[in-house]
């Protein structure tokens, strides 16, 4: 009976963990995986972090605008995160462009880097920064306490 318990335990652990490795994605540069089109975001795509960022952050963030930029788009609709929360692998030193669109106004927070940006309802908000610290970082919609994605910088 105990062996059965241990097996079940370990099986559950494996299942859970294989679940999360399955959920982690290596973002190809210029991967735009959700429908959030950040075309109208030129005004809001300023980097308010003080971090050095690439010069072209004000150009609309369409695919291919910056060669080594990792673009991650997340949409929040009716309290649901689309695509589902996952872990995105980001090479250390690359530029990350986070595009967040929410149906209610909120604040996007990149933990660890401590970058924050207010976003308007329905308006894509863009945070662009250089991933110069390694580790795993959560990106959160602050007031709704929704985790949008995790960045695994290495």
């Amino acid at each position: 009976m105990l062996r059965a318990t241990a097996t079940v335990l370990f099986g559950a652990a494996l299942l859970l963990t294989s679940g999360c490795s399955g959920g982690s994605t290596t973002a190809a540069p210029t991967d735009s995986s959700s429908g959030a089109a950040p075309a109208s975001s030129s005004a809001s795509s300023t980097d308010d972090s003080g971090h050095d960022s690439t010069d072209d952050s004000s150009s609309s963030a369409t695919a291919g605008s910056a060669d080594d930029a990792v673009e991650i788009s997340v949409t929040v609709r009716k309290g649901k995160v689309i695509p589902r929360t996952r872990r995105v692998k980001v090479p250390e030193g690359s530029t990350v462009r986070l595009v967040v669109t929410s149906d209610v106004a909120d604040e996007v927070h990149v933990h660890g880097y401590d970058l924050k940006k207010d976003i308007e309802a329905g308006q894509p908000g863009v945070i662009e920064f250089t991933a110069d610290q390694s580790g795993v970082f959560e990106v959160e919609l602050e007031h709704k306490a929704l985790q949008l994605t995790q960045l695994q910088v290495q």
Partner: protein
């Protein structure tokens, strides 16, 4: 865990797969070697083990002056932090959350592993109780009523569970309002209980003190149970001297289960599950925490009961007899889980402590220092994580083996250990899997 709005809101990178595999291989191999080749007669004898410290040194450590100084230091340091907690600015620069979640929760137990049960000597609630008893002219050890033995370690398990819930799940758990409330309740509850039951309450029922005292048994410096002499000893003798009091396995289960839950709950799959569930996320997390703690604890109680088949001991008694063997496993997993937090946020907290009220003061002279992250680099952290988990496992297996050959009938002593061994391998492989994948 996440300290909001600070350097602590960064988690470790997963350990490389090869590390996890090597660690698991070593753990499994050593387990079988222990089972097949280790001594067949009980070896540990804490009543007589250890080499006494030189008499002057022992006298110095045990002198009333030293005790007084340590209590005073504990009280003054606590008062200093309470000042920051009550009058400081509730912002990311306030040191209180770092003191609570890093220095007290991680630093004190790990310091105890090095030099023994320090919290017992500086525990400010114990000191307040002592002062109160002096003021009322009663002996601190004697309360109004004797401490019932059936309580065992259960109140400590409950107070630790309350704290890990605060740490991992409570809303705004780094805000001063929440911390004030928690510690006001904690202080009131334990001070009242100690007044009722006497200062023995702290020995078995104050979660922080119990945690520090259990991990303190891993120190080479210890007190021989038979005569109270301070000795330098094999840490395994120290752990083997932990009294098999009821509820011990629950304390260990809360510590291990909550650490596992913390790893598990940071994985994207869990986050997605909790966020998309129809129940409020904190309810889901609370149920998750309780489930993991229950699985870890019940699996252990079941494994010890199976191991003890052939003896006439009741199952709960057997769980208490073997629970000490999980102490090094808890310590190992704690080091693995919290190392980088201790290094980075620990230093950050020491810097922030210099300005407790957010007035720009530099009371401790640590204000200008910067955080040195070299001890928590990626490779250092990964190697340390695997080494800590595997070392904890090996020590746990040896301790369980020695207890088994002491308790079990000779014919059953080797085969009987298999359930506990399988469980420990399961804990370790599960722990390494989490370090690699969550």
């Amino acid at each position: 865990m996440l300290l909001a709005h600070g350097v602590g809101s960064k988690e470790d990178l997963p350990i490389p797969f090869g590390y996890a595999l090597t660690g698991a291989g070593v753990a499994i191999l050593v387990s079988f070697l222990v089972l097949l080749f280790l001594w067949r007669e009980p070896r540990f004898d804490p009543e007589r083990a250890g080499r006494p410290l030189p008499a002057p040194l022992a006298r110095l450590i045990d002198s009333p002056v030293t005790r007084f100084v340590l209590r005073a230091v504990g009280l003054v340091a606590t008062a200093y932090v309470v000042l920051a907690m009550v009058f400081g600015k509730d912002d990311a620069l306030n040191p209180t959350a770092g003191v609570v979640y890093v220095l007290l929760w991680v630093g004190v137990p790990l310091l105890s592993v090095l030099i023994g049960p320090v919290w017992r000597l500086i525990n400010p609630i114990r000191t307040l109780h002592l002062l109160l008893s002096r003021g009322m002219a009663v002996q601190p050890e004697r309360g109004l009523s004797p401490l019932p033995s059936w309580l065992g370690y259960w109140p400590a398990a409950a107070s630790l569970l309350a704290f890990v819930w605060l740490e991992l799940i409570a809303p705004d758990n780094t805000s001063l309002t929440v911390l004030r409330l928690f510690f006001a309740v904690y202080l009131a509850a334990h001070l009242l209980a100690a007044t009722w039951y006497g200062s023995r309450w702290f020995d078995h029922c104050d979660g922080f003190e119990v945690f520090s005292s259990l991990l303190g048994r891993l120190s080479v410096l210890g007190r021989r149970p038979s005569d109270g002499v301070l000795v330098l000893r094999n840490p395994l003798e120290g752990v083997a001297s932990i009294a098999p009091v009821g509820g011990l396995f629950a304390v260990v289960g809360v510590l291990l289960g909550s650490t596992v839950f913390d790893s598990l709950s940071s994985s994207p799959s869990w986050v997605d599950f909790a966020q998309t569930s129809p129940l409020p996320p904190r309810v889901v997390s609370t149920l998750g925490l309780l489930t993991v703690v229950a699985i870890v604890t019940v699996a252990f109680a079941g494994a010890s009961a199976l191991t003890g088949r052939g003896t006439d001991q009741p199952p709960l008694r057997l769980a208490a007899e073997f629970a000490h063997s999980l102490v090094p496993i808890v310590a190992g997993y704690f080091v693995a889980h919290y190392w980088s937090l201790l290094v980075i946020v620990g230093q950050q907290t020491l810097i922030q402590l210099s300005d407790p009220l957010g007035t720009g003061a530099d009371l401790l002279g640590t204000d200008g220092l910067t955080i040195n992250g070299s001890l928590a680099g990626r490779t250092t952290t990964a190697v340390l994580q695997v080494a800590a988990v595997v070392t904890g496992h090996v020590l746990g297996v040896i301790l369980a083996h020695d207890r088994a050959v002491r308790l079990l009938p000779r014919r059953h002593a080797i085969a009987g250990q298999i359930p506990l061994l399988v469980l420990m391998v399961g804990y370790t492989v599960g722990g390494l899997t989490l370090l690699f994948a969550a």
